[in-house]
């Protein structure tokens, strides 16, 4: 449930509480009403035209690092 995709914030219109986000060459205006302190360059999760939450790059990195335990495993 709840389709949401991570997209990069390209620009912000703080007065209107909107941002233009980009997802692999697709730009779309979304509402930032649900998020304080969004910054250009942030990755945010987009759901029904709203930015739901920021993606934390360090946590993402950590998760990816956990895959390193796969080294040596033969599929």
């Amino acid at each position: 449930m709840c389709l949401a995709v991570p997209a990069r914030v390209e620009s912000l219109d703080r007065a209107a509480s909107t941002a233009v986000v980009n997802l692999d060459g697709i730009s779309k205006e979304v509402s930032t009403l649900l998020l304080d302190d969004v910054a250009v360059g942030d990755y945010v999760l987009i759901h029904v035209g709203y930015a739901l939450e920021r993606i934390d790059p360090e946590e993402a990195e950590k998760t990816l690092t956990m895959f390193d335990e796969l080294k040596g495993v033969e599929p």
């Binding site: 998020l35 759901h47 029904v48 998760t63």
Partner: protein
């Protein structure tokens, strides 16, 4: 696609799956409920189940907003659209969901009701602004993920004095449903793949009590296939180790406390609903929200005096059992014959998150029978 492609790496998926195969105890069963339709969809779309050991089984949960919406509430919306000169706005997902007697919003639209598909609650506001002489009703559905955008729309409408806008609120809450499932015990679940995007709003702590009370491990899992597989591994390990903790695989988006701003907005606009009927689960107390009295002007149920409508269950459809994790779609006699995504009998055959639709559209290669148009 950053934060997407990294989590769809087939090679890593196979290695992770291999690890799971080595770690599972061949003597026991692992029944893991993917609570969310998003996980169901990922499992079938990417063929994750084929990578899993025989004794690990994904059990589908009720986490698909259109699947759990009772037919009567769609029926009520159709009645409203036909009785009043309104514009009914809704997410496209709802259009094909069966109401009573084979009806649907799609068919009501074809018969002449002004029903419009929107992508965002802001679109409903734009339609209301563009049609000041008509009433615009937003038929809102969804879990905690989709509720804040609805709250935002009501807040904006109030600020603008948009007097022709109202919301038919059908937002439901995840933890009560989960508790209900676990308390019944019928699904025989050993672990839960926890909601990803719902959790971005409500935070990981929301499940702690649940896990404790029912001694079931839960891993909040992202919707990408590697997320699902990694979370599966994490669940297997908890099960093997006899733990029942809330773990957060989706830490890149989910915090312990969730999105406080969105929570505050929800609390400003909504309040708990004493009782709400779920398709499959029946009436659950405090399992949904309703619009607060201060915003009654924006509550379509109040404004139009909408009445609950009782729609008889579809004969033969076992959606209720599927949504409770008790039955599998293929156990349904209608599956794939009378009931197909083209002519769905039950709600689970509509959304690509619905367990029946996912099974039919993606998983049918496991079954026999000629494919018909």
């Amino acid at each position: 696609m950053k934060y997407v492609d990294e989590f769809r790496d087939g090679d890593k998926a196979r290695r992770l799956a291999e690890l799971i195969r080595t770690e599972v105890n061949p003597e026991r069963e692992y029944r893991l409920m993917e609570f969310c339709g998003g996980h169901t969809h990922a499992i079938f779309r990417f063929g994750i189940h084929d990578l899993m050991p025989e004794n690990l089984k994904y059990v589908h949960g009720p986490g698909c907003p259109v699947c759990v919406l009772p037919a009567g509430r769609i029926e009520a919306a159709i009645e409203l659209a036909e009785a009043e000169d309104i514009i009914l706005c809704t997410y496209a997902d709802l259009m094909r969901v069966p109401a009573g007697r084979g009806d649907s919003l799609n068919r009501a639209r074809a018969r002449g009701s002004d029903i419009r598909m929107i992508y965002s609650s802001t679109d409903a506001l734009a339609i209301a602004r563009a049609n000041p002489e008509r009433q615009v009703v937003f038929f809102a559905i969804g879990f905690e993920t989709t509720t804040p955008p609805t709250a935002a729309a009501i807040q904006i409408a109030e600020k603008e004095g948009l007097s022709n806008f109202s919301v038919y609120c059908n937002h439901v809450l995840t933890p009560p449903a989960m508790r209900h499932l676990l308390s019944s015990g019928e699904a025989h679940i050993h672990g839960i793949l926890g909601p990803s995007h719902v959790s971005t709003i409500i935070g990981s702590q929301a499940y702690a009590g649940c896990c404790n009370d029912y001694q079931v491990p839960l891993v909040i899992a992202g919707f990408e296939p590697l997320d699902v597989i990694q979370s599966t591994l994490m669940l297997v390990r908890q099960i093997n180790e006899g733990r029942f903790e809330v773990e957060n695989q989706y830490s890149r988006a989910v915090s312990q406390t969730g999105n406080r701003k969105a929570q505050a907005l929800m609390q400003a606009i909504f309040e708990p609903r004493a009782m709400f009927e779920w398709r499959g689960l029946g009436g659950l107390p405090d399992s949904a929200v309703q619009i607060k009295a201060a915003f009654h002007a924006f509550d379509a149920e109040k404004r139009f005096g909408m009445q609950a409508i009782d729609v008889a269950d579809i004969r033969g459809c076992i959606c209720p059992a599927v949504l409770r994790g008790v039955s599998d779609p293929v156990d349904c006699k209608l599956f794939g014959s009378i009931c197909t995504p083209e002519q769905p009998k039950g709600a689970c055959m509509v959304s690509s998150e619905g367990a029946c639709a996912a099974q039919y559209s993606y998983g049918r290669y496991r079954l026999g029978g000629k494919s018909e148009i």
